[in-house]
Point group: C2
Chain length 156, copies 2
């Protein structure tokens, strides 16, 4: 069922451009993080996991996956690497043995201090004004929500 505000032909190119812009911008920004995070021995997805843990102290793998929108196929090996690096502990929840609780080690908690300056460093490196960032964030969230709820495009 097409909407009343269906895009006209001119918009088709636009969609293409937006998708690529998103794809390119995401990789470009991650590349800005890379050298900064390298000093902490983290990749960007690992940094995201640490952000959640610094805020919550501990979480199940499931909750982590919901927050970051990643599945166990991605998280399991990633968490294994964080554990091998001595930053997190993993243990089955005794209340529910299906669940694995991820928590910070002392080293993982200590890393937080070194990470506090990162958002500022990134903001300065890119130099995009906060007003635009706010609008951008909200628009991106809207797109993510719309894409996540996207219909699977029926027949043919």
């Amino acid at each position: 069922m097409t909407r009343a505000d269906r895009p006209d032909p001119g918009d088709l190119d636009l969609t293409k451009q937006v998708c690529f812009a998103l794809y390119a911008a995401s990789r470009a920004l991650t590349a800005v993080y890379r050298p900064v995070l390298e000093r902490l021995g983290l990749t960007y997805p690992q940094y995201l996991v640490m952000l959640v843990l610094w805020e919550r102290g501990q979480t199940s793998v499931k909750a982590l996956g919901e927050s970051l929108q990643l599945d166990s196929g991605t998280l399991s090996p990633l968490l294994k690497r964080l554990e091998a690096a001595g930053l997190v502990d993993r243990a089955r929840d005794p209340r529910d043995e299906r669940s694995v609780v991820v928590s910070l080690t002392a080293a993982g908690d200590g890393l937080r201090d070194q990470a506090t300056g990162i958002p500022r460093a990134i903001a300065e490196a890119t130099g995009v004004p906060a007003s635009e960032l706010t609008y951008l964030r909200d628009t991106l969230r809207k797109i993510t929500e719309a894409a996540t709820a996207a219909p699977d495009k029926e027949t043919t």
Copy 2:
């Protein structure tokens, strides 16, 4: 509580949120493409390569890399798979044997017809108005440019 009480705490969180929003939105939109492209036997990066070829007919690997901002480490195996799928040909440029020219096969050219409806399908699936898409595209380009040119402390 874990937040830094700095002069401008709002911006720091914002940066973090924008980066994640970008990362999440990019993956979410790619996921919308996935089932659509699957019918053509293409992944999203492969689709991007085909878009360039449908527009230009042929390109060198280098030019392709500049357009998509991907290096040979990514493109070489990707093009090999497209070649194995019978969609493209690869040949050394006789004028400069260092360069490899990628061109469309008949099958690759024929796939264009099936691909014309894709941008519309994506636009409808997400349902974000064109006015926002335009602003979004321009902001993303600005960020990509800023990130690509980002000053890096590891400079010597």
